[in-house]
């Protein structure tokens, strides 16, 4: 019998995207009861961890090198090579604790994938996080999960308890002499806590105002100690890399942005859902074949490919574009969290943008003036336009506001708020102008 790691198989290299329909899922395989540690172990679970901790084949550097070679680009939005980030940790000093922060805040609108990991494959994430702690010589992992996920927090806690009982977490893991703890922390409703330094402030029991960088978390993180932060999905890839090798993992999907992806597809499609496929899928395949096409026989108008903050694409920009950083760059957008929102021809783009802007206005922590004021002005100006009281110069005003926000604040929330405005106004300018011209007619007549 072939040895499968979960559903993956290290002998099967998946490098022909034409065959995406034959892709075998490894993050969220269809194995009933996989959230249970018995089922997980029966399917090869915790073998990677066992190998790392007990075989003597893996030292810190080797784990980090393997993960770096795989090029797991962070799934929390920024797409930074996880192994490279791990290598920024300073050398271990005795008596100085170090921490892993696991980002399960999942609050970027359009993103709904980490929730599936909590529910269907929590041990894959736990295994990855503990291996990460081993590699970076950390003492504990803090798993920060948004408070709205109360039910999924309970599921995660149950999985953590099971892993403690089996000795995969805790004192002297598998007799290796290494002690690593894992704690689940419940948020309480604030998007900003997904920003890495805000998350740390929140964990420290403060108002979660993002910190200025530098110093970066690797130098000054949780409780001022060296810390690395990764997204939940990012960490869930780690056991797959260790078990099957960086070469196998990075052969999946787009060469420069490789690996399995969890595509969260929502909006006006027949079959919304969270789908696991290789990176680098054609947007058109995802929309029309995976998600079953546009509802009610309507036509596609726009796609927001990676969560609400990434630039929107018009339907006519999709041809040949794939879900990886290089391809999306050619049309001026990003992978983000791969949470795709599909909008049909009936969508009022101005109203859609108002709601997105309201979100950022609501979630701005208020620390920086350009962000606090700018997000509010977006909403005001856009509402004015929508109500038929806008002027042409309002569009320039919106773009100027973006200039005052982008790259000028403590954290990237201001950028996240400005990108949708800038790109929607530019790419759907006619829809804004139509509302403004209509107002002109009213005033002149």
């Amino acid at each position: 019998m072939k040895k499968y790691y979960l559903c993956g198989d290290q002998n099967t290299i998946f490098d022909n995207m034409e065959n995406w329909r034959d892709y075998k899922k490894v993050l969220l395989p269809d194995i009933p009861g996989l959230h249970n540690i018995d089922v997980y172990e029966r399917n090869g679970g915790y073998e990677a961890l066992r190998d790392v901790f007990t075989s003597g084949k893996w030292d810190s550097k080797k784990v980090i090198d393997e993960v770096k070679a795989a090029n797991i680009r962070g799934r929390g939005g920024a797409g930074f090579n996880a192994g490279l980030k791990w290598s920024f940790m300073p050398p271990k000093k005795d008596g100085l604790p170090r921490y892993l922060a696991c980002n399960g805040d999942e609050s970027e609108p359009g993103t709904c994938k980490d929730r599936r990991i909590f529910e269907y494959n929590p041990h894959l994430f736990i295994e990855g996080a503990i291996i990460a702690c081993y590699a970076m010589e950390m003492d504990a992992a803090y798993v920060y999960i948004r408070g709205e996920y109360a039910d999924w927090i309970d599921m995660m806690q149950a999985a953590v308890d099971q892993a403690y009982q089996r000795g995969f977490i805790g004192e002297n893991i598998l007799g290796s002499g290494r002690t690593i703890h894992m704690y689940v922390h419940k948020g309480a409703g604030a998007y900003i806590c997904g920003e890495e330094t805000s998350l740390m402030e929140s964990l420290e029991g403060k108002r979660p105002y993002p910190r200025s960088k530098p110093p970066f978390p690797a130098q000054y993180g949780l409780w001022g100690k060296p810390t690395t932060i990764n997204n939940i999905e990012t960490l869930a890839h780690v056991p797959l890399v260790i078990k099957n090798g960086a070469k196998w993992w990075s052969s999946i999907g787009a060469p420069t942005h490789p690996g399995p992806f969890l595509y969260g597809i929502s909006g006006h499609v027949n079959r919304p859902g969270v789908y696991e496929y290789p990176s680098g899928m054609l947007l058109t395949d995802l929309i029309y074949n995976v998600a079953g096409g546009i509802r009610n026989g309507k036509k596609l108008k726009a796609v927001v490919p990676g969560g609400s903050s990434v630039p929107i694409l018009r339907a006519d920009q999709l041809e040949g574009i794939t879900m990886d950083a290089d391809s999306l760059r050619t049309v001026g957008t990003f992978v983000g969290t791969a949470g795709m929102c599909i909008l049909d021809e009936d969508t009022d783009i101005v109203k859609f943008l108002i709601r997105v802007s309201k979100f950022y206005d609501h979630e701005s922590c208020g620390q920086c003036t350009p962000c606090r004021e700018g997000t509010g002005w977006f909403v005001k100006i856009l509402k004015r336009i929508d109500a038929g009281m806008g002027e042409m110069k309002d569009l320039d005003l919106l773009l100027e506001l973006c200039d005052t926000m982008e790259g000028r604040t403590v954290c990237a929330l201001a950028d996240a708020a400005a990108w949708p405005v800038r790109n929607t106004v530019i790419r759907f300018r006619d829809e804004f102008e139509k509302k403004i011209k209509r107002s002109g007619v009213l005033i002149n007549s």
Binding site: K25, L28, D30, P97, E106, S107, P109, G110, T111, C112, D114, R115, R116, Y120, G147, E148, Y149, A150, D151, Y183, H185, K186, G187, A188, G189, A190, Y191, S202, L203, E204, G205, K206, R207, P208, W223, G264, I265, S266, G267, H268, R271, P272, G273, V274, Y275, E276, Y288, N289, V290, G292, S308, G339, C341, L343, F352, R355, V356, F359, H362, E363
Partner: protein, 177 residues
């Protein structure tokens, strides 16, 4: 009302304290415990948390007032939140919200006349693939909301039923195009 924690609650809070190198980190979990017990976070409840953890009141107050899920007012027993953000906003969330206002005859503070319900708009709940999505009293998600489903949910809450967890299966069962 007397604001004290039972021995068991204090022990639970101490368990949280033990997870972190600094007891201030237990403010959030302790606030959750206080809110579960008292229904909302009054000044007295916040003071109790501060005293139990031996941290300044202002620090706890600052945390409690930052987050939307910590309730700073005495509220009706059932909170119904409907996501009107991003995807949900384009898939019926706004319409469901309008239905709720009408069905429950809520006032400008979102409270129903019978004092049993209050409603508010949610930001993205992280379940956009089942838009529109609702959440009941900071816990149960209600997916793929329709007016009918909201009506049923309200009736069940009126009867005092505990809503069960609605599992959304991993998709991919239907044939691909």
């Amino acid at each position: 009302m007397e604001y004290t924690f039972t021995q068991a609650e204090v022990q639970e809070i101490q368990k949280h304290v033990a997870k972190y190198p600094d007891r201030h980190s237990a403010i959030m979990p302790a606030l959750w415990i206080a809110q579960e017990k008292f229904g909302w976070l009054s000044a007295d409840a916040i003071k109790l948390v501060a005293d139990t953890l031996d941290v300044p009141y202002a620090r706890v107050y600052g945390v409690a007032t930052f987050y939307t899920m910590y309730l700073k007012q005495d509220c009706p027993p059932n909170l119904i939140e409907v996501c009107t953000c991003f995807t949900c906003g384009e898939c019926g969330g706004k319409e469901r919200m309008a239905f709720l206002k009408d069905y429950l005859q809520t006032n400008e503070k979102g409270r129903s006349a019978d004092g049993q319900f209050w409603i508010r708009e949610a930001e993205c709940l992280g379940a956009c693939d089942t838009a529109p999505v609702g959440q009941i009293s900071n816990r149960r998600f209600v997916h793929n909301l329709t007016d009918e489903k909201l009506r049923e949910t309200i009736e069940r809450l009126r009867r005092g039923e505990v809503l069960s967890f609605e599992a959304i299966p991993l998709n991919d069962q239907t044939p691909l195009g």
